[in-house]
Symmetry: C2
Subunit: 254 residues, 2 copies
C-alpha cells in the first residue's frame, strides 16, 4: 500500500458519490437479489464508475465487487468494493448507507474507506495511515466493559436462528443498543461514539473496508472467535473501540 493508493481511494469514492447522489430519493426500480437483498441502478452505476477508474489506474490489481463479481481475485493486490452498503436504507431515502472501498494485500485488508456521500462522512484508515474522518484524526473511546457499552447493529434478525439467543444475551448485558446504520456504525465506533457493533452474514465486500477504519482508530475487529477477518471468514464480526469490550462481547457470543 502506498500513499497513492489513499489518494486513489478518495478519487474512487468521489466517483461513486457522483454516481449515487443523482438517484438519492429519486424514482428507480428496486430488484431483489438471490439473497433477498435489494439492488438498484445506483449500486451498479457506482460500482461501474469505480471499476472504470481501477482499470485505468491499477490495471494489474484484482477487483472483487458486490455487483460485478471478481477480476483477478488471486492477484497480490485486490480492491474490494461495495458501492452501496445498506441498499435498504438508500431505497428508503435514509442517508446512512455507504460506499465501501478496500485494498487487500496478500489477503490482508490494508486500506479501508467508508463514504456517506449525502451527509459527507468519509472515514479512511490503513496500515501507516491512522483513521481519519473528513481529514481529522478519528479515535475510538475507552469503555471498561459491556455494562457501559453502546451497541449498534443493523437488524436484530440478521443472524442465524441459532445465534439470535446469543445476540439477545449480549443486548441484555450492554448499556444500550440501537438499530439500523449498516457500515456507518463502524465509522461511529472509529470516532468514539459507539462502543460495539456485532453482525453476521457479512461478505468480504461488507467487512474488508471496515477493518482498517476500525483498527486504524485504535479499535478491534475480528470474527466472533477473535480471529482476523480473511477471505473465507464466516461473516460473523465484532468491532469494538476498546479491546476489553470486544473480548467480553466475544465471550457472550461464544
Amino acid at each position: 500500500m502506498t500513499p497513492d493508493d489513499i489518494v486513489l481511494a478518495h478519487v474512487l469514492a468521489d466517483a461513486a458519490g457522483a454516481a449515487i447522489r443523482p438517484w438519492f430519493r429519486r424514482p428507480f426500480l428496486v430488484e431483489t437479489k438471490e439473497d433477498f437483498s435489494p439492488v438498484t441502478i445506483a449500486d451498479r452505476e457506482a460500482e461501474a464508475a469505480i471499476r472504470a477508474l481501477l482499470a485505468e489506474h491499477r490495471p494489474h490489481d484484482g477487483v472483487i465487487g458486490e455487483e460485478y463479481g471478481e477480476d483477478r481475485p488471486d492477484a497480490s493486490r485486490v480492491w474490494v468494493l461495495d458501492p452501496i452498503d445498506g441498499t435498504r436504507a438508500f431505497v428508503a431515502g435514509r442517508p446512512l448507507f455507504g460506499t465501501l472501498i478496500a485494498l487487500m494485500e496478500d489477503g490482508v485488508p490494508v486500506l479501508g474507506l467508508i463514504d456517506q456521500c449525502i451527509i459527507g462522512d468519509r472515514w479512511v484508515g490503513g496500515t501507516d495511515h491512522p483513521t481519519t474522518l473528513n481529514g481529522q484524526r478519528a479515535h475510538v473511546r475507552s469503555c471498561a466493559g459491556l455494562g457501559a457499552a453502546r451497541l449498534g447493529t443493523t437488524g436484530p434478525f440478521l443472524f442465524d436462528a441459532g445465534d439470535i439467543p446469543r445476540v439477545d444475551a449480549l443486548r441484555a448485558e450492554v448499556g444500550d443498543s440501537l438499530f439500523g446504520g449498516d457500515c456507518h456504525n463502524y465509522g461511529l465506533v472509529a470516532s468514539g461514539h459507539l462502543d460495539l457493533v456485532v453482525e453476521s452474514w457479512l461478505k468480504i465486500h461488507d467487512w474488508a473496508a471496515l477493518v482498517p477504519v476500525v483498527t486504524g482508530a485504535g479499535g478491534v475487529m475480528t470474527d466472533w472467535a477473535g480471529a482476523p477477518l480473511r477471505k473465507g471468514s464466516d461473516g460473523r464480526v465484532v468491532a469494538a473501540g476498546d479491546a476489553r469490550v470486544a473480548e467480553a462481547a466475544r465471550a457472550v457470543l461464544a
Copy 2:
C-alpha cells in the same frame, strides 16, 4: 392556526438546531431518565431555546415539552415539543434524530414540523398547509398492500411483550423492513420513500408533530385501532402513505 404560526415554527426549529449542532459528536454527559431513555444537555438547551421564543411570541399559548413539562396545557392552543426525538441516535453521532414541534388547537394537531438539523431535512405540514420538505411539496406514494410495503420501525423490541408477536406477524407480511430512524421515518413516509411505520409507547410530544406531516402529504396516521391520535392515546401508532396499507397493517395488529 395562522400562516404566522408556520413562520414561527421555522424560527423555533432554527433555534433548536443552533442549540443542538454544537453538541453533535462532542463530549457530553448522558443521563438516563425514569423510562430508561437517555437525555443530554443538547435536549435541554434546545427545548429551553424554543420555550424562550414561545414565551416572547406566544405568551398566552400552552406548552408541553418532553424535558420541561407543561405550562397552560389546557389552553386552546398548545405547542408540543420534543427537542431531540431519537436521543439514542444523537448520542451515537447518527444524524437521524429530529426536533419535533407541533401546534395543537383544542386537542387536535394542526401544525407539525420535523427537523433534522445535521442533514438539513425539514418537513412541515398542517391544516391548509400541504406538507413540504425543505420548501418543496412532499407526497406519499401509493402502495397496493402489505406485500409491496416497506416498513420502518425504530426498534423491534420497543413494544409491549404482548404486542411483539403482532409486530412480528406484520414484519412477515410486508415486502421489506428496516430498523432505526425515529421521527425521520415519518418524514420518509411523507416523501414517498417508506410505506409504513408502526411504533408503540409514543408520548404526545413524540406523535403530535408527526400527524400533520404525514396527513398533509396524503397519508394516514392513527392509533392501532384506527382512531385519531389525541391526548390520552395509548401510544401505539400506525402511519402509512396509502390508506390500504394502513388498514391492512391495523388488521394484522388487531
